[in-house]
Amino acid sequence: MLPTLHKQLLNDYQQDFPLSPTPYLDIANSLGVTEEEVLVAFSTLSEQGFISRIGPIIQPNQLGISTLVAMAIPESHIIKVADIVSQFPEVNHNYEREHRFNLWFVLIASDQQHLSSVIKKIELQTSFKTMQLPLLEDYFINLGFQLNLEPQEENLLISA
């Protein structure tokens, strides 16, 4: 079980990390602990792999251009194809999913021409076609990820 302080740090500062000269002190003051305790707790959470970082999430397609891509790969070929795909620096979040379209990844490039050239290379090197699924509209107002870190059953409440 995570200590209460760690849970609060994980849950309460995903959206609006303080933009003040001393953000960790501000968090400490609002939680009634010391700045040192907050710094140590964040370092621990980071070292233990509970958080990837404290940083910005950039709105898609504001810097460069991105698309979700799906491929339908026979089971016997998927590792080989996934390895080829992963080698491109423009690729991230390369996942296997349970479906005929079983390989899913996000491509980000500087412009459409760059994006198309990467797609072409992937199709050429893997000998499989891609299905491009660029974002048309984003409906989610990102409030971060609401964790339920208690052991009991989660309930199904609507958040807003």
């Binding site: 740090l9 995903q14 958080i51 810097l63 048309l136 990820f145």
Partner: protein
């Protein structure tokens, strides 16, 4: 247009703020700015919407959310915006996008993501969603994630490169 200094600032913070008493002052030192300017520029980028959020980015799997499903629906074009906004309100929904259909092989235009502690939990949440939004009459599919081949943070500008952005949350 984005100012070059703002691109440098995003490059400096994308891999994470330092866990230290004055993190923005440390970022400022790298950029030949002062602490006040760094804070003001980050505030501006948030207000402009270029930075969607600034904060703690958690690792779902490490926190026990092992089951991740992409759920896709075929919603009539006239309804898709309304339904997308509605689906986004549920606390177990993490992302919700409209994307293009691809004929018969892929008839789905609304994509959302559910992270849960188990497959059963995710399916239960999906049933709840379908019932509450009256989605019974629209075709849908569930794609649970299996192996992760590559996962990287938001490296919009890998160090030493010119321009090479990356990552959707």
């Amino acid at each position: 247009m984005i100012e070059p200094i703002d691109l440098q600032l995003i490059a400096a913070v994308q891999e994470g703020l330092p866990i230290a008493s004055r993190p923005y002052a440390l970022i400022a030192e790298q950029l030949d700015l002062n602490e006040t300017e760094v804070i003001a520029r980050l505030n501006k980028l948030k207000q402009q919407g270029l930075i969607k959020r600034l904060g703690v980015i958690v690792k779902h799997r490490r926190l026990g959310y092992q089951s991740n499903a992409m759920v896709v629906f075929d919603i009539p074009d006239l309804l898709v915006s309304h339904m997308g906004q509605r689906i986004s309100q549920f606390h177990f929904i993490n992302l919700c996008y409209q994307r293009p259909r691809h004929g018969e092989q892929w008839p789905y235009n609304l994509f959302c993501m559910i992270h849960g502690k188990s497959r059963e939990k995710v399916l239960q949440q999906l049933s709840y969603l379908i019932e509450n939004c009256v989605l019974e009459n629209y075709a849908h599919d569930i794609l649970f994630s299996r192996r992760c081949f590559k996962q990287r943070g938001a490296l919009y500008f890998p160090r030493g490169s010119g321009f090479n952005p990356e990552n959707i949350d």
